[in-house]
């Protein structure tokens, strides 16, 4: 009994000491947060049904219900990847999946529609006769506050942005396939698409402002501007180039690190993102920079990321952390194949995660990124990456 008493008494004393030791003042120096850390979820998304396989995942978005949408390119599957769809089938798997896929946070597929791999879609639900011209090379996806799905395209003749309902019903096209009007095209019945919307130049991305119902288009691979249109009708509102200036389509020459910052966007103008405080962030990918504007197009500031990056550039997409202040800006970089974590206010690089590679948590041409309300990050990879990944928050990177 004495031993037991000593045991319990000792445990009690230890507990009291630990409680005392945890009092403020005993801990030591304050910690410095560098940025959030993330850990990959290797099981996201769950295997697709129907032996479906995705090709290049060229856009990813989180909607207001915290479900995750991505657009992928079934045409980029190699012959062996789509072996089951051949006649005769050459292998047990796989079939191309529809272009637009929607998942829940756990990775379960909720919806799939659109594109060449959705039987009947291009003959019944999106036809030129309806004014709907599906892009040859899908690029970028956004789901707005009214649950409408916006798609862009950057194929050689893809000069249109499409708006669908969440179940894939065609609603609106902005621009016209095969027709472009340059970076200062404003639309109208004579200078625009047949429906009066502005002509585009291989647009890369869309974001809709829920407060004004205006669609901001990163226009794009052919043009060098941000274009703003009415999200209900597609009618022109305004546009601007780098520094808020009138854009110019004059060839800028190659990007050279160390040169003074270019006065025009280089192609592609790859993303546009609107923060809660009304700032508009633009990805000037090959110039390795982020430019920040007001909603009217007035230039506010710019950040530079890995300015020695050549090739496809360092700023491919942007999204913010889900806290009220949107403290962090996440920039996937498909050239350096990592995600840069910046302080949104200053543009300071705080941390990175990922590296070039094919394993989980590594990247090959990481192209897009989206963040849900819990801070989970979803990335999309093109070229031979052909996948989406999910990263969960894993604390802070502290001193």
């Amino acid at each position: 009994m004495t031993k037991r008493t000593l045991l319990w008494g000792g445990a009690f004393a230890a507990a009291v000491l630990v409680v005392a030791a945890s009092a403020p003042g005993w801990v030591g120096a304050t910690t410095t947060h560098h940025g959030p850390r993330f850990r990959v979820d290797p099981d996201w998304p769950r295997p697709l049904p129907n032996k479906w396989l995705v090709g290049q995942v060229a856009g990813i978005a989180v909607d207001r219900h915290d479900t995750i949408w991505f657009v992928q390119r079934p045409s980029t599957l190699t012959t062996d990847e789509r072996g089951a769809s051949l006649t005769p089938p050459r292998s047990e798997c796989c079939f191309p999946a529809p272009s637009v896929l929607r998942f829940d946070r756990e990775g379960n597929l909720l919806q799939a529609w659109g594109g060449m791999a959705d039987p009947g879609f291009l003959s019944n639900r999106c036809t030129p006769a309806m004014g709907c011209e599906w892009p040859v090379n899908e690029h970028g996806i956004f789901v707005d506050h009214d649950d409408n799905v916006w798609l862009a395209g950057n194929g050689g003749a893809d000069n249109q942005v499409l708006k669908f309902s969440s179940d894939g019903t065609f609603l609106l096209q902005i621009g016209k396939a095969g027709v472009t009007g340059g970076s200062n095209a404003t639309g109208g019945l004579t200078g625009g698409a047949p429906n009066g919307t502005p002509l585009l130049g291989r647009p890369a991305d869309v974001e809709v402002d829920p407060t004004t119902n205006e669609a901001y288009i990163a226009d794009g691979y052919g043009n060098k501007r941000i274009l703003v249109v009415d999200a209900a009708t597609g009618m022109y509102r305004r546009h601007w180039g780098a520094y808020g200036n009138v854009p110019s389509d004059a060839p800028p020459g190659p990007y050279v690190p160390g040169n003074p910052p270019a006065q025009q966007f280089r192609n592609p103008v790859h993303c546009v993102r609107i923060a809660n405080d009304g700032l508009v962030y633009v990805c000037d990918r090959v110039n390795d920079r982020i430019q920040v504007f007001s909603k009217s197009g007035a230039f506010e500031k710019e950040f530079f990321v890995a300015t020695n990056t050549l090739g496809n550039g360092s700023v491919w997409d942007l999204d913010t952390s889900p806290d009220k202040q949107q403290t962090y800006l996440y920039n996937p970089d498909g050239e350096n194949n990592k995600v840069w974590i910046l302080a949104r206010a200053s543009g300071t690089v705080l941390a990175t995660f990922g590296r070039n590679g094919r394993n989980a948590a590594q990247f090959h041409w990481v192209h897009n990124l989206a963040v849900d309300s819990r801070g989970n990050i979803y990335t999309a990879e093109v070229d031979t990456g052909k996948r989406a990944q999910k990263f969960k928050p894993a604390g802070m990177d502290d001193d």
């Binding site: 801990v27 910690t31 207001r64 009214d146 969440s166």
Partner: protein, 472 residues
């Protein structure tokens, strides 16, 4: 002749029956049958995913002799009502009036209100369509202003499955202080993954929030203390009987017992005290809040079952079982608390009564489970044929198999959760939990010590118990 005090008499074991000595292969067959039974009978517990769900939002406010209910339904739920459409699929707002009336009637059918047990008929209903971006149902005042205000212009594009049906329903009541209840159920074809987010604004200004699944039956809002107590006794009783992991643990705990005595009572008390403490601690928020914690608790519950079942196979003995039941009881208490947390919304202002009632329900469920298991075990023990040992081993091996699968599944889920990064507050939080564990352990030890003394285990001065070995 006296023996030296340092010599210890070995405890006297019952003589091994000569029949058993003569058939040593019997043990091998026992093991083989047990393994076969385990392989055939045990199935791995399969995990499952819950797909996305839809939510109905509602406010309820009694004012004078009127009950005002504001309801928001996703338009996708009105699929069967075939609201008129135009263009690619937009709701034809110019011709939707009839559809709205049908939707009001359908809502009245699926969302029933009761005053003191009496079903309330709908006195008045108005409705409108709202776009998906509308946020008016963030508060009662905004929702009421929306429903009282102008409708959308007929040219507004609201896609048929992307907006909301908003309704204002009024019922006549006798008093704003009556006991109100509701029954949320969904007609076939409307979907079965619905939840109702309800906020009630009582006559004295208290706001309560509820999350109700469909098919929960009649739920009393702001119950009296005895209504809350009865509801939670039933809930606790159902919970333990619905929980195969808790029942299996109980079964494994009692399997070695061959009679109803103080050691059995001590073991049950130990389990009861331990799980009560952690259940109450969890109900008062004294637990970590991360998603890792429930996953850890579920994993430890599987560990508890596995350990106890293995102990039954290797060394079945009631001795010291109270320690095992106490330690693991702490974990099971946290497990009980996860359901309790979602139910406490129905406690009204009787949180403590509901909490204690829930615990009583659990104890009653436990007693029922033991009332079924113990007679069977006692009968087997009294048969004297050694079959009780065989049954113990077989049942325990089956449980081992099941528990092992649960453990691997739950550990896999636990690995996916982000563990908390220790910060300045962590040692304090850990210490509080540690202190809790020490206090509980101390209480349990004192209780069992007390019972053992009452059981009259005499100690002779030389440390021997009972007749000394070798004494004729």
């Amino acid at each position: 002749m006296l023996e030296h005090p340092s010599a210890r008499a070995r405890p006297v074991r019952p003589a091994v029956p000569s029949a058993a000595r003569a058939r040593p292969w019997r043990g091998a067959f026992t093991g083989l049958w047990a393994l076969l039974a385990a392989a055939l009978l045990a199935t791995p517990a399969a995990g499952h995913d819950v797909p996305g769900e839809m939510r109905v939002h509602a406010f309820l406010k009694p004012e004078g002799q009127r009950l005002h209910v504001l309801v928001r339904l996703p338009l996708a739920l009105l699929l069967n009502l075939s609201l008129p459409k135009r263009g690619p699929g937009y709701i034809d707002l110019a011709h939707v009036e009839d559809g709205l009336s049908r939707a009001i009637a359908a809502t009245d059918q699926d969302l029933e209100f009761f005053e003191d047990g009496r079903r309330l008929p709908l006195a008045r209903g108005t409705a409108r369509i709202s776009p998906p971006s509308d946020r008016s149902f963030e508060s009662y005042e905004k929702a009421r202003a929306l429903l009282a205000g102008p409708r959308l212009s007929e040219a507004t594009d609201v896609f048929w499955n992307q907006g909301y049906f908003d309704a204002s329903l009024e019922y006549e009541i006798r008093s704003p202080r009556s006991t109100l209840a509701l029954d949320f159920h969904v007609s076939p074809g409307r979907g079965d993954r619905l939840k109702l987010d309800l906020r009630t604004l009582s006559a004295d200004g208290v706001v309560r929030a509820y999350e109700l699944p469909t098919g929960a039956g009649e739920v009393v809002l702001d119950p009296r203390w005895h209504q809350a107590a009865w509801s939670f006794v039933r809930s606790g009783f159902a919970h333990i009987l619905d929980g195969p992991d808790h029942l299996l643990f109980l079964l494994c705990l009692v399997l070695p017992f061959r009679r109803i005595d103080w050691s059995l009572a001590g073991m049950i008390t130990s389990f009861t005290v331990a799980h009560s403490v952690t259940l109450i601690a969890a109900a008062y928020g004294l637990v970590p809040s991360g998603a890792w914690f429930p996953a850890l608790v579920e994993t430890l519950i599987a560990v508890s079952i596995l350990y106890t079942a293995l102990e039954n196979v290797v060394r079945p003995s009631p001795r010291g079982r109270w320690v095992v039941s106490g330690l693991f009881g702490l974990v099971h208490g946290f497990g009980f608390s996860f359901l309790l947390k979602s139910q406490l919304q129905f406690a009204g202002s009787h949180l403590l009564v509901s909490l204690l009632a829930f615990n009583v329900g659990i104890e009653l469920g436990q007693l029922l489970a033991l009332a079924v298991a113990m007679p069977v075990l006692l009968l087997l023990a009294r048969s004297g044929s050694g079959r009780d040992r065989l049954v113990t081993v077989i049942v325990s091996l089956v449980v081992v198999h099941t528990a092992w699968h649960w453990l691997t599944e739950r550990a896999e889920a636990l690995k996916k959760e982000a563990w908390p990064i220790p910060d300045a507050a962590s040692p304090g939080a850990l210490a509080r939990l540690g202190l809790l564990a020490v206090l509980v352990g101390g209480l349990v030890w004192l209780a069992v010590r007390h019972w053992r003394r009452r059981a009259g285990r005499a100690l002779v001065p030389d440390g021997n118990t009972g007749p000394a070995a070798g004494e004729p």
